[in-house]
Amino acid sequence: MIDNLKILYHQGKQYIPDVTTAKVPGIFRGRPIITLKKVDEDKLVEVCPLQAITKNPIAIDLGKCNFCGECTMQFPEKISFTKDYKIATNERDRLIIKEGDENPVEVNPANVRDEIHNLFGKSLKLRQISAGGDNSCEWELNASNNVQFDMSRFGIEFVASPRHADGIAITGPISENMAEAIQICYDAVPEPKIIVLVGTDAISGGIFADSFAIDRSFLNKYLIDLYIPGNPAHPLTIINGLLDLTRK
């Protein structure tokens, strides 16, 4: 008993008091800023291994970007990644950061269904489905609920059964072999329900986008309520995204 108390004492306070303003340590590749400086645009477009950069105007699609940082290493005067981890949004187009755009990426409240605010504002239970996910986003989703990030303090939790869930959180590019399971799981979630895509692989397919082994037809059928980019998505990105979606 005394040993247990000692351990607790030695841990001190681990939780992050305010997850909306916490700072991430060291270097972090969060929301990018693209300056208006002129560079060799064709070369810049070519640098990106995932074709996330397009020109006229130069823009980065965070849904395709895997945050490797190659562009900022080769064109530091053009592209820089800030430590702003709040990059989740409910609009696919908002993930495309154009040159000169320094505005935060946010959920557009006008496009959030009323029932999400009304029903899920204080309690959101999600069923997680990994469909070809490489286990990095899964680790970070688990980390979102550890004693430091402590997402469950906001009433947001992952549950074991789709019957208990208010929606699904998908990781991975959706392998063909998981396509049927994902549909069955989604159908088992009672209405109203949401779909959250976590990580670059889920949002665009990432490096697997043109693989013949994936089947993303499920995503064409439904409205996506939240995109959480990252490779993997940082726990603070995940928590802030979900809070931004569900709270007014």
Binding site: L50, S136, A213
Partner: protein, 498 residues
């Protein structure tokens, strides 16, 4: 000679690998392993050359540090005698060859689909109608779990045959995670894309797989990596080991409902992965390892920070371990649960932690060293009982060992060297590379064509060998002990399914 002997990270011309008849190939490779526990198959696979199939078998010898490579050309849809009839450790390799090319095997006891790749031979076989082993009995019942599991983990299907609460048999069906990675390695023509592909093979072994890929690429290009590159890789590999082992100790505590251990180990993982973010901008080290260069210099400042991190990590880790390993309620769940004997791990050919738990000493860091591991006098940590307790103990001791190695590394940080020029890969070559990831031996093999492009790329995650150990470990255990058995192994689904 019927085979060629190479060492880890060696490039050879593809013509140097002798092509022999299947009968000889069979005798040679099974002969290598039978009554030689120090040898095992690190990779055995086939690929198409026009209308024929070339089989390549790589057997590693831990004592002599050699890898014996031989090959054999066969027609497609032929019938062959299975290596598995003599040695069970070939079971998965032959299922893969059967699934990809339709080759029939005689005397293979378990010739079932392996991962349902999109380019499989027989498209009429689908993942929904996997032929599970079943027993017709009124006393026994079956329990099916998955593909989607209760926790936030990857998909796979487990089918138990139980007698009451007791598990008699477990069959693990995988393939749900298949993303066509090996084919993408050939299709993606740009080095960075391929490196990112390697990073995404298994997100919990980012450093492991990317290091193997980098080694392969550098061997093919004839590039000798400088000391600072090797330093960064060695350090990152050991950091990955600490992070995952600590996270897994937390998960094991969760599965025995030990809240304190779960929280403390869970939070202890954070400073380790946060340090990786300080170093390379990503908590899981994505973006850190690149072929032929050091992407993020390791500075004296970072070394000081890492020393601080370890100095605060270690006392908390020790204190929690001490408490966990004297807690009777924890020990009663760990000890003699999920046992796999030495004979069993030897016959199914497990690697890494899943071999060392049962006194089978397999560790690439010692047997086929790379990077700076030669300088450590590495002594693998192994246990004898093959139970959950052994696996948990190994994790604890390996964390301690990794901390010791990192401290040694930090004493002498090599100077950053300017990026050296790297040639393009040599044509018509074969290269093999092995690295000891935290799960065990990762092995990649590459073959280049006339232009130096990839003709074939083969990835083998340690989980490929080790899933069978999990299936055996739960036999005669209560089904309620399955989660803790599973977590004590923590095998990769995506690394297996590719």
């Amino acid at each position: 000679m019927n085979y060629i002997s190479v060492s880890n990270n060696q490039r050879i011309d593809i013509q140097q690998i002798p092509e022999i008849t299947y009968d000889l190939f069979f005798e040679l490779n099974t002969g290598f392993i039978i009554s030689h526990p120090e040898r095992h198959c690190v990779n055995y696979y086939g690929f198409k050359i026009s209308d024929k199939i070339k089989l390549i078998c790589c057997i590693a010898d831990d004592n002599t540090h050699e890898i014996f490579i031989s090959s054999c050309i066969i027609g497609d849809s032929t019938t062959l005698i299975a290596f598995t009839s003599k040695l069970l450790c070939f079971e998965k390799f032959e299922r893969e060859i059967h699934e990809n090319f339709g080759i029939q095997y005689i005397a293979h006891p378990w010739l079932k689909p392996l991962r349902y790749p999109y380019n499989r031979f027989d498209k009429s076989k689908t993942i929904a109608n996997y032929p599970f082993y079943s027993i017709d009995s009124e006393e026994l019942h079956e329990v099916g779990v998955g593909p989607i599991h209760a926790g936030v983990i990857e998909p796979g299907h487990f089918r138990f045959i139980c007698n009451g609460e007791q598990i008699l048999h477990l069959e693990i069906q995988l393939g749900y995670q298949h993303r066509g990675i090996e084919q993408l390695f050939i299709e993606k023509k740009n080095l960075l894309q391929r490196t990112i592909l390697a990073e995404n093979i298994a997100g919990d072994t980012v450093v492991g797989h990317t290091t193997v890929f980098s080694h392969i690429w550098e061997s093919l290009c004839g590039f000798q990596s400088s000391r600072d590159i090797q330093f960064a890789r060695t350090l990152a590999l050991e950091m990955e080991r600490i992070a995952i082992h600590t996270g897994d100790l937390s998960a094991v505590c969760t599965d025995i409902a030990y809240q304190l251990g779960s929280s403390v180990f869970g939070r202890l993982r954070t400073p380790i992965i946060n340090f990786m973010q300080e170093w390379c901008g990503n908590r899981l080290s994505k973006g850190l390892i690149r072929p032929g260069k050091n992407q993020f210099t390791f500075t004296q400042n970072l070394a000081n920070r890492l020393n601080e991190v370890l100095n605060t990590f270690e006392p908390d880790f020790d204190e929690m371990c001490k408490q966990l390993f004297k807690l009777p309620s924890a020990l009663s769940r760990f000890e003699r649960t999920g046992v796999v004997s030495y004979d069993d791990v030897l016959s199914i050919g497990t690697v890494g932690l899943s071999a060392r738990m049962s006194n089978l000493n397999r560790d690439v860091r010692l047997s086929h060293p790379y990077s700076l591991y030669n300088e450590f006098n590495h002594e693998p940590i192994y246990k004898r009982h093959g139970d959950v307790y052994s696996r948990v103990q190994i994790r604890k001791l390996e964390v301690k060992q990794s901390i010791e190695y990192i401290r040694k590394l930090l004493v002498n940080i090599p100077d950053y060297e300017e990026k050296a020029y790297m040639n393009s890969p040599k044509p018509n070559s074969f290269a093999i590379s092995m690295v000891e990831g935290w799960r065990g031996e990762i092995c990649h093999c590459a073959i280049t064509d006339d232009n130096g492009d990839f003709l074939h790329y083969k990835v083998k995650d340690p989980s490929f060998h080790n899933w069978m150990a999990l299936a055996l470990s739960v036999r005669n255990n209560e089904i309620s002990d399955f989660p803790i058995c599973n977590k004590s192994f923590n095998l990769s689904y995506c690394g297996h399914d590719l």
